[in-house]
Symmetry: C3
Subunit: 437 residues, 3 copies
């Protein structure tokens, strides 16, 4: 994986996209989510889909649409001491409307702060139990004197729609790679504007190149979005052969890949291979908690979907707080994440089983111009070693990725060796990767 | 495993039982063994069984009954310099009778001591080759002047019986857990009065609770006892699905489990799981040496029987010496061992495969009161995580223990989650554990 | 493996053989190779085989025969500044004839030296692309003044033959062990005169003892030799069940075994076992680079052939240089390598599956004289433990090597236990090793 290959400018472009989307107050439904997709549509021919509130999707019901105009807590003097206008994390996301005067004592159960990070505002939600609340810095909370407060959340919870964005890039094969990112968080930069930015630019670049596989991008609200999509697209789910959920791809940490429920699907092996050759990284086993891989990997579907992040959810102090801001993500790390995605997709594109057409002893590579003339040196160049590995293992049973893993060489070196051998007629394609049918 | 759960008083009770049985001179046959079982019968409705000496049991013959009244070595002055009355380890167990006057030189080949532990009396036996001897401290041995000695072992080796104690606690299922402990050692506290005490109190507690499985307790002489039992109960051996041999359960070391010959039987996985969650511990592969698991795991039977100890046989200096005394075992460690046994049996009782009846995406746990309302926090409570694990893995192929192992959560947390999910109708029992039939 | 068992004198004999063959200028064809085999024929009834130049062998063509009489570079004064007579590595092996006067500038592309080892002459070859060149120490190279030089390589490249030596030692079974060593290198002591010496003395010793298996020794030119042999012996290749390629067996490093392509063939497990019990050692996975295992393990053949060396090719600085000389190999290390070979072959000879004829409980070993009488000691002698292991595992499914591996005991201890148990009628042979048919 040549991680420096992506133009530096792409990192800056992705960071600009994150910055532009950052101020919008998104939720799982409503105008904030819709505005976000409209913005991305300027860059990408996303299709928008909507289902009405109240629709049944498996065990769930599509919730009402939430929209918010303003919210505040004001003191006796009429001064806003907590103000949605200054940061949209100040309101518990999906809060029911409220307009009351109440004592600090009555208000307190509706207030959330982080004593261990007294300057950060936490991010809290209350989607499926009607409730309301405010999030504030612990310093703010401690500075509130006893007394009466005016509390206002000028929101609506009413029948409307759940919205998502979808883009399919068809390839030679109808087999699909699913790239799914939750897009429902308000002003949080890494989780998940970073994932959305990487997905957007990945789609733009994939659109411009030949594709063996088809690619399906989903920009959805977390949990209810993937459940809704799966419920409405159940017939087509079998086409999905691989898929990384994309999230938290802009922070300064190293890459992390969490395996799918299957654990050894091609996407798992491809991502592991790329990360192993990318320097410091972390590989995690599947856990049925995290992002929408929870739904894709539910036992009825059991899709080969893992999750690619940098530092994973819950593992950085800034997670789900106002400190996950525009400084927390960098152009360099966004660009690095994009390169890793592309390297993983390259493995999926090129993975194949070949048959060595000259399986009895090695063929004479020298007479085909593939081997150096003067011999006796201590070490073989890695391209020559890759040729020997591909020839030795290509009995139809070992795919290129397995050969790369066994040899310790990078997938692209093995793939290039296979391409050179095909050109000389020594190798024949005999099957694509062994994805579970 | 909540190891502090067992009432502290149980530890004291077990230590009292060890103390009461300690003075008896047991052997593989004879009154010492019988007296021991009669004492345990006060606490437990043990059935006593006997087979006559000379009975053929597989490749072996039940040996004569050994009884001993007295034994000594006396010097010229008539003073007993080695005296069975002061410690029953002084006689090589199962020694043939002898009454002779002999020089120290003649006597020496019959004397056993431990130069590396000069104040300890070793424990030696000579069951299957007629012989006699004395064990003494090395200091005693060195203090013996040359000269003539009167040697007396007032024992009998005569046709009689081999005795064992047996108790069956029937459960809903005829599938059995075998709990076997050798009970033939004389004054040795850890090996194996500790194992016998734990077995006794485990049986008392199991007798008072509902049981899915049946439990068979055996108090037998080592080697010849299990061989005899297996020979006489060959038809019923197939009912034994699991079993830990219990031994050395009172010393201050941490727990050790030695796997069965199969290595991956449910008992092996259950014991490994419990020990892994119990702090410091040791897991050992099967070795065809040790206690009666040698016979249960002989290739013709190949039962799923491992061995639970604290410090295992041969691995503590006091092993098979007079230093394995009442101070060497503690009430606390006996109680801790009992708790570990119960936690292992809990796994066996509750291991099952379930089917998630809502396998397409996660069910909405919140509306069933199983999930917290306000979300966004960094970490999920372990009960909620357990619910997700059970739902995700319950496709009928993964048992609860496997889910516990994969999730890193304790079995009882996973079991409680499964119970809660069954109550809401989200889960259905589809099979008990995969014991080899 | 009792590595000190081989008579010390054998090490001296092997070193003498290396010394006698060292001066000969071998190549993949020609008189040097033939002279070498004739010398070995004094010790071993090798059969010599020849195929004419131009013969097609799989993808290759047998090359012309190369013979060389003299070669030098002389300065203006007529003084030889590089002289084949002083070291045969000075000529690029298989160099085409040349007789020219040329400037140092013109000559330079034909000169090879090692700047990092300025006193060593490198070993270079140019077999399959017609070329010529000289190898010299870097110090020599740097001392050459500009000017004109007389260059002469008095060699011939002409139709002739490719030669190899072969010896079959038939055993009770037609199943074969292949012992192959490349014999084409000129004055290089470890690579591979050491391998040839070990093969020679191994064959002499095997010839004198009863053999269950048949043994086939090949002394061949590297690469083209094994390709030629495989092409001409394709029908008989199926008889080869095991085989270590022997090379670099005289240096002071510890033993290294590189596994066959299969990775878990009996030869792989046998060699790993012997090395694990031999002290410091290295086990390597298969790589399709190295010696003739490349051909034997090509996917069309996939023979169970690994490679036994001390320090492997390319992993010592002296590799393929004039520093791989007679001081670089020692009698002691040659003898140690021979012992390791014999221990590996012992495993192949004796590997078998047995059936315990008394599978229900342990048999009473004491009454058969196989077990000590007075019991109770801390540890069992390893012979008694081996008896228990063999009895416990001999259900027909586990071979002796697997039992040795599981028990941690050496193969010969396990084999001796099995032999003792067979004599008492407790064990019955039920199958030889599970080599792939």
């Amino acid at each position: 994986m040549e991680l420096t290959a992506a133009p530096i400018s792409l990192g800056a472009d992705m960071h600009a996209l994150v910055s532009n989307l950052y101020p919008i107050c998104r939720s799982i439904t409503g105008d904030g989510f819709r505005d976000t997709l409209w913005y991305i549509q300027k860059m990408l021919p996303l299709e928008l889909h909507e289902v009405p509130s109240g629709s049944r999707v498996f065990d769930w019901t599509v919730p009402n649409e939430w929209n918010i105009r303003d919210a505040w807590i004001a003191n006796d003097a009429g001064k806003r001491v907590v103000d949605f206008q200054s940061h949209n994390l100040h309101v518990v996301n999906y809060s029911a409307p409220v307009r009351r005067r109440m004592s600090l004592e009555e208000l307190r159960p509706h207030l959330y702060s982080l004593p261990e990070h007294p300057d950060w505002i936490p991010y809290r939600t209350s989607y499926y139990r009607e409730s309301w609340g405010f999030c504030l810095t612990h310093r703010q909370l401690q500075s509130l004197p006893d007394g009466e407060y005016d509390v206002c959340i000028d929101s609506t919870l009413a029948p409307g729609h759940l919205t998502w964005g979808e883009l399919v890039l068809p390839g030679e094969s109808s087999e699909e790679v699913l790239l799914s990112c939750h897009s429902c968080h308000p002003s949080l930069a890494n989780d998940n504007l970073a994932g959305m930015a990487v997905a957007t630019y990945l789609a733009r670049r994939l659109a411009e190149r030949p594709r063996r596989l088809s690619y399906r991008f989903l920009f959805i609200p977390g949990t209810i979005g993937s459940i809704t999509w799966l419920a409405l697209n159940r017939a087509g789910v079998g086409r999905i052969k691989h898929g990384p959920v994309l999230s938290c791809l802009g922070d300064r940490g190293s890459l992390t890949y969490k395996r799918s429920r299957r654990g050894d699907a091609l996407i798992d092996r491809a991502a592991s291979h790329v990360l192993r050759h990318s320097g410091e990284h972390t590989l995690l086993d599947f856990v049925p908690y995290g992002y929408d891989e929870r739904q894709y990997c539910s036992p009825g579907f059991d899709l080969a979907v893992g999750c690619l992040t940098r530092t994973p959810n819950g593992k950085y102090p800034e997670y789900h707080t106002s400190a996950d801001d525009l400084d927390f993500v960098t152009p360099e790390h966004l660009a690095h994440s994009l390169c890793a995605c592309e390297a993983i997709l390259d493995v999926l594109e090129h993975e194949a089983h070949y048959q060595n057409l000259n399986p009895y002893c090695e063929p004479q590579l020298g007479k085909r111009g593939l081997y150096d003339g003067v011999a006796g040196k201590r070490e073989l160049p890695s391209m020559e070693l890759a040729l020997l590995w591909v020839l030795n293992q290509s009995d139809g049973e070992h795919g290129l990725l397995e050969i790369a893993e066994r040899s310790g060489l990078e997938f692209n070196v093995i793939h290039n060796a296979a391409t050179a051998l095909r050109k000389t007629g020594l190798l024949e394609l005999c099957g694509r990767h062994g994805a579970r049918s």
